[in-house]
């Protein structure tokens, strides 16, 4: 049984004449412990799939299931204990008036944990931020540090599936590598399943086991990372994408 099963997912925005179909009939499975990549150009609907899974994009049809359990339209609290998301821009995903301690403490409180203090300390250590960052505000942190806080927040409820929405695209190159390594280590330590969106093929080659290539809302090809490394694509769009990334 796969961790995440997406079957015939359609996502759209707007109504009637203004309706835009962002995702059309997307179908793929992510096995437990696997790291699955979604690649494609801007506007191809990669991030929209993540937002539909978490319920942030309210208009969707098709079947989404987590460990064989179909997801209801209204997500129960237990869903957010299983599935968490890291956003693209760490400058926008942290509340400007909340300290790191508040961000993590509130998340833990919402998930009903009792030993909040010890857990905040442990989370900060896990993502490679020391205790000295605990009471800082986002404006006192660099982009990479902020993204570590965002990762810590996503890990706080101890999820099994982590949705990563271009977690490094807003960071500079040296920091990108640090965050990617952190994510790789966390996955190994905790046995997490990743669904990662990226437009950077080298990031996907580094992080993922399999990937799906998207173009204007359609999944055109699902392939293994070995095929990606060998540049072995069957669909013309994928071949074009490979050429462009050389």
């Amino acid at each position: 049984m796969s961790m995440l099963d997406v079957d015939g997912l359609n996502v759209w925005f707007g109504k009637h004449l203004e309706r835009v179909d962002a995702v059309k009939g997307a179908t793929f499975q992510v096995a437990r412990g696997e790291s699955f990549g979604l690649v494609g150009e801007s506007g191809s609907g990669k991030s929209t799939i993540l937002r539909a899974i978490t319920g942030l994009a309210p208009d969707w049809s098709g079947t989404l299931s987590i460990e064989g359990q179909p997801i209801a339209k209204k997500r129960p609290k237990t869903f957010f204990k299983q599935v968490q998301m890291v956003f693209q821009d760490p400058y926008a995903s942290l509340h400007p008036r909340h300290s790191v301690d508040q961000v993590l403490g509130e998340t833990l409180h919402l998930h009903g944990f009792q030993d909040i203090d010890t857990r905040v300390v442990k989370l900060l250590d896990d993502v490679g931020l020391g205790q000295k960052f605990r009471f800082r505000y986002p404006h006192q942190l660099s982009g990479g540090q902020r993204q570590r806080v965002a990762i810590a927040r996503a890990l706080a409820p101890e999820p099994e599936l982590l949705l990563l929405d271009e977690p490094t695209s807003a960071l500079d190159v040296s920091v990108q590598a640090e965050i990617l390594n952190l994510l790789t280590d966390l996955r190994a330590d905790r046995g997490l399943t990743y669904l990662m969106v990226s437009h950077d093929l080298s990031v996907v080659a580094h992080m993922c086991d399999r990937l799906a290539v998207m173009k204007s809302g359609d999944i055109v090809e699902i392939m293994s990372v070995d095929a990606l490394r060998a540049m072995n694509a069957t669909h013309p769009y994928t071949q074009q994408l490979f050429k462009a990334s050389l």
Partner: protein, 303 residues
């Protein structure tokens, strides 16, 4: 380490050691920004002075503000014992100004408590919930905005009866719609941001998101707006007093004092001018402070 650390270093540290430390440190940094703004400090100085004067009114006032001395009425500025002269009933104008500052502060404080909080509540709920709630709340806001402010306040006071409390209520009722508009506009930009999505993904409900995540971001722009509006509130209160619908005689409300002096304004100009200057000074002080606070509190400027 703590032996060599000065208080200033403790306050400005990049690595706070506790929740309280972080809060105090953020507050102190805001204070440093405000302190570097001379005009804002002048405004704050005037307001602190006014607070002090209002608190120590019985000690500072040279005369009883209600005692009449008809033999010494309309004495000019600088008269022995009456620095600002006396009014048409021979009451000392300086003493009346000092006691009047209490009334002004009372009105300002009450309006500043009622109107922005009501506006914040309506605006954030309307902006976050959206849909029908938004439409209904905003149309109500529009109705209140469509009336001229002083006229609406006049109507309320006329219906409720003259007096300071009713004047406060009337001014608050006319002052909340702009705050509702501001906080709704802020909420609309905040609600689609990633950090609100992130807390939604932790299963937080609408109540928690509005009070703990949206309010803290709206409040700073509201505080700025309130301090800038204070001048208008004082003027509205004075206007009601001037029209005889606010504070009732013999209470030394500044607007009522101008109203009394109006009858002799050509021959005895100071009777109306001195309380006018007091209103002007306090309004200016609030405006200066509001400008300075905007620099400190605006989250967009602080980035």
């Amino acid at each position: 380490m703590s032996d060599t650390q000065t208080l200033r270093e403790w306050l400005l540290t990049e690595t706070p050691t506790s929740r309280r430390h972080a809060k105090i440190s953020a507050f102190y940094q805001g204070w440093l920004t405000l302190r570097s703004n001379t005009m804002a400090m002048i405004g704050l100085g005037i307001l602190v002075l006014m607070l002090f004067v209002a608190a120590a009114a019985p000690l500072l006032a040279p005369h009883d503000p209600f005692v009449q001395d008809l033999g010494n009425r309309l004495a000019p500025l600088g008269t022995e014992g009456h620095v600002f002269g006396t009014d048409s009933l021979g009451r000392d104008i300086l003493s009346r100004l000092i006691y009047g500052s209490r009334i002004t502060l009372y009105i300002v404080a009450l309006v500043a408590l009622i109107a922005p909080i009501a506006g914040l509540l309506v605006g954030t709920v309307s902006g976050y919930v959206g849909g029908w709630t938004d439409a209904v709340l905003m149309r109500i806001t529009d109705i209140f905005l469509a009336f001229p402010r002083l006229i609406l306040a006049l109507a309320f006071v006329a219906a409720l009866g003259a007096g300071i409390e009713n004047a406060v209520l009337a001014i608050s009722l006319t002052a909340w719609p702009p705050y509702a508009r501001i906080s709704r506009a802020e909420t609309l930009t905040i609600r689609s941001s990633d950090y609100i999505s992130a807390i939604q993904l932790q299963g937080a409900g609408a109540f928690r998101i509005i009070t703990k995540h949206i309010w803290p971001l709206c409040i700073s722009s509201l505080i700025v707006r309130v301090t800038l509006d204070m001048a208008g509130i004082i003027l509205a209160a004075a206007g009601l007093g001037f029209l005889g619908l606010g504070a009732q005689p013999p209470s030394p409300e500044w607007g009522a004092m101008i109203s009394e002096g109006r009858r002799f304004i050509l021959d005895y100009w100071w009777v109306a001018t001195v309380p006018g200057l007091a209103i002007f000074t306090v309004s200016l002080a609030f405006n200066l402070l509001g400008d300075g606070l905007r620099d400190v509190l605006d989250p967009k400027a602080g980035e």
